[in-house]
Symmetry: C2
Subunit: 336 residues, 2 copies
């Protein structure tokens, strides 16, 4: 049994490296298994019965099934440390980022470059953020800009029109009160916190205040909730023959925010690997996804990851995703 798993590992590693179905002969030759091709064939037949490998056609070698990869990932792969040049690249890439947009943009490019796969990075979730500051800027007597700054570095802004002008002093008053109410609170708590906020103001002002509050809630909750960026789609084309049909359906799927968000899922700390058909989306049945959470405090406030062909180098990819997540978390903690 132990030996059989050893053979599965060899098959996966060989297939990932050569991109060709692997037969019993090369397996005996290339890997340090001191058994004959015939024995390997017997074991392979068993592995095929277990559904871990298949033969594309009778006269071909074997390739791993999704289930085979799953067993490989769960039981056979060990973490592969990154090379020092890779570490250095990661180190260098984020230096000089000026704001969250910049950090996210650099991270996604970095991840694509290190893994040679398609990279996806989600912005820190507003749901999991707290209010650092709310600013109200008067652009004209009846036109305000609201700026909501979250502790995760996210900055949302919105312009709104008032039906009647508001005085500078009333504005300043509102700004102060807004911040003393909301600062440090979870964005998700804002609806409750600001429910009776307008009561603090004179009847004349209440209508405007109500408008402001509703826009704040819209910014914080209703809309724009999750943002996600993607990079390295050209890597898909490089692996084109890996995809059953063509890259088209995959590219198509990756253009839909909804799909991406479902891929990333709820931010959780541990690393997740979804292989081929384990994915809900049919268009992604020939791809695997590796995701992990990240966040300035060590707690996951967002998810990042990569997507590539099922036939990918899981150990290396997983450690790269992990390393980038750790690094960006640390960077966010220090800099933003």
């Amino acid at each position: 049994m132990e030996r059989r798993m050893e053979i599965l590992r060899a098959i996966v590693e060989d297939y990932v490296a050569t991109h060709e179905p692997v037969g019993s002969k090369v397996l005996a030759a290339r890997h340090g298994l001191s058994i004959s091709p015939a024995t390997i064939r017997n074991e392979m037949a068993a592995l095929e019965d277990e559904g871990l490998i298949i033969q594309p056609h009778t006269s071909a070698g074997r390739i791993p099934t999704d289930l085979g990869y799953r067993v490989f990932v769960d039981r056979l792969s060990s973490v592969k440390p990154l090379s020092t040049p890779e570490r250095r690249a990661i180190d260098k890439f984020l230096q000089g980022a000026v704001d969250l947009d910049d950090v996210v943009a650099r991270t996604v490019r970095l991840l694509a470059q290190v893994t040679h796969q398609v990279a996806i990075v989600q912005y820190p979730s507003l749901k999991r953020s707290s209010v650092r500051h709310i600013e109200v800027i008067s652009l004209s007597p009846t036109r305000l800009m609201l700026v909501l700054i979250a502790d995760t570095g996210r900055v949302e802004q919105r312009v709104l029109d008032l039906v009647s002008p508001m005085s500078e002093s009333a504005l300043a008053d509102m700004r102060t009160k807004l911040n003393s109410e909301a600062q440090g609170k979870k964005l998700s708590a804002l609806p409750v916190i600001l429910e009776a906020f307008e009561k603090n103001f004179t009847p004349a002002e209440q209508k405007s205040v109500r408008t402001v509050v509703s826009v704040i809630l819209e910014m914080a909750i209703e809309r724009n909730e999750e943002r996600v960026v993607i990079s390295g789609t050209s890597n898909l084309a490089r692996h084109a023959p890996d995809f059953n049909e063509s890259v088209h359906p995959v590219l198509e799927a990756l253009e839909e925010q909804v799909v991406l968000l479902r891929l990333l899922g709820e931010a959780v700390d541990e690393m997740k690997v979804r292989i081929g058909h384990e994915q809900e989306d049919k268009k992604l049945h020939s791809t695997s996804v590796i995701t992990t959470g990240y966040g300035p405090t060590g707690e996951a406030v967002a998810t990042l990851g990569i997507i590539g062909p099922t036939r990918m180098d899981y150990p290396t990819s997983m450690s790269a995703v992990g390393a980038v997540a750790r690094y960006v978390s640390r960077f966010l903690q220090e800099e933003i």
Copy 2:
């Protein structure tokens, strides 16, 4: 001569529609040219001598060269009005956009959807924007957030650390003075305008003010100058056989901001079409690019466009690009 051009038009239209080299027989049959295949052959030979069409191989029909498309676009194509459903789609798509990010994101998706090509939209150029407002927000005694709001709807923000704290009143003072100096001025004029800005302050404050000014200049000029978003890359894969080799180099090129920005070029009002080898970038030699400027005031402050295979429906694509540009310009004028 007139007839020869008629034949070129027929070739281009037929080839774009059928995606197959077009021979003299079908040309005589399908189009209303009342001349025989033999005559057409003679004219075709002439067109080939002029470099407007070529034969992929001896026993095949003719296809237009880049030069052939060029002549078609310049002299033979007439503007093709959009269908009413298309107009309605454009109309509907932008309704409900809340800020510039939203407008740009929707526009690029819209353009990709209408043209079935890859769409590119540039954010309004900061160079061509003026200051609407500068806001200084105190996040902590030594930490400020600067928000620069431009008349084009662009909002840039940056967090900075001061070496020594600044009082609320000094801050308010700086905010007022900053705005009275800068408001309405071109961003490109800021370096001159703010050159001696710190002189307005006490020696103790000058160091902090200088930091603030330098960050403003960085936001306005040095960095982040141009932003560009892209959508519809999956459309490339749909046209895959159109590309000599594969879509890979094209996708690769489209991942580089620099390439995109060069594609879009300086924002100018009129529509530009670059066909195949007219492009500098070698990776894009099998693609054509249609761009045009847009902007809230009617003046072009940014560029948008599409990129697709050289064999594309130029008249329809051009009118779609034009329509979207006009529509987004009007929308920006009214809403942001």
